[in-house]
Symmetry: C2
Subunit: 139 residues, 2 copies
Amino acid sequence: MYKAYQLIRNAGLKLTPIRKEIILIFEESPRPFTPREVQNLVQKRIGRCGLPGIYRNLEALAGCGVLFRLAGFGRERFYALCREPGTDPHHHHIVCVSCGKVAHVDGCRYHEGMMLGGYRLLSHIVQFEGVCANCQENN
Amino acid sequence: MYKAYQLIRNAGLKLTPIRKEIILIFEESPRPFTPREVQNLVQKRIGRCGLPGIYRNLEALAGCGVLFRLAGFGRERFYALCREPGTDPHHHHIVCVSCGKVAHVDGCRYHEGMMLGGYRLLSHIVQFEGVCANCQENN
DNA sequence: CCTTTAAATGGAAATAGTTTCCATTTATTC
DNA sequence: GAATAAATGGAAACTATTTCCATTTAAAGG
C-alpha cells in the first residue's frame, strides 16, 4: 500500500502508526467497516486507541482518496478501501449483502458539469447492493 | 393528494390529521425537509406534536410510497414528496444545492435481478446534486 | 350513531453515533 | 537533536433517533 502512503503524504498528513494499521486492516478484508469496528481491530493490534482518533483518521483517509465512505440509510457509517486509488477512472461500488465484499462498477454516465433534467450537475451518489458470485453459489 | 390518501389506506394505515398535514406541507414546497423542520411546520398549523410521531410518520409515509428519503452523508435525514406516486416508472432525483428544489431524473439503467460486475443486483441508490435552471440564472 | 379495537400520539427518557475540548505525545523538517 | 505543527486519547458534550408507556383516536361493524 505504498500508493496509500503517497496519498497521505501528498495531502500534507503524517504517516502515523495508527494510519498504517487502519490501511492494513482494510487491505486484509474485502468488506467495509464501521468506525467502531476499526477501533476494535486497531486495538487488537496496537493496543488502546480512541474513537475520536478513528473518526478523524477515517475522514482524513477518505479525504485523501485512500478510503471512501459508503452511502446508505442505516444509522452507522461504513468506509471501504479504494483499491485503485489515484489511477481510478470514475466508477462506483457494489456491496455484497451476504459477505460485504466490495467490487467496482464501471461505466458511470454522469459527470460534473453535464446537464441533467435542466440542472447543471455538481455531484452524484451511486451505490449498489447485490449478491456476489461466491455467495450466489454457496446458498 | 388523493392519490397519497389511497396509498396510506392501501397500506393499512390510518389517515390522521397529522399525516394529512405532513402531506400538505410537502405538497406546498418543492424542497426536502428534515424531521425537525416538519415538526415545526406541523406545530404552526395544528399545534403541539411530538418528534417521535413525526419520525414514525415520515417512515410510514416513505414506506407506502408517499415520500422518499434522500441519500447523503450529512448528519440529518431529509424526506421529499414522490410527485407521481404509484404510477412512476423507475427514476431518481436531483436536488438543487441552492434552493433545494427536487426534480426527476429518468432513464435509470439498473434494475433488480440484473447482473452487475458479477453480482446479482438487489438494490441501488442513485442521487444527484446540481443547480436548477432558475438558480443558474439568478447568480 | 355507538361500540370495539388496533393504530397513532406525545412526553419523557434512553440510546448511540459523532464531535469537541484540551493536555500530552509524536512525526517530520531543518 | 531541537523546533513545530499535527495527531492522539479520554472525558464530556451534542444531537439525532428510538423506545416506552399511558392516553387518544380513526376506522369498521353492528
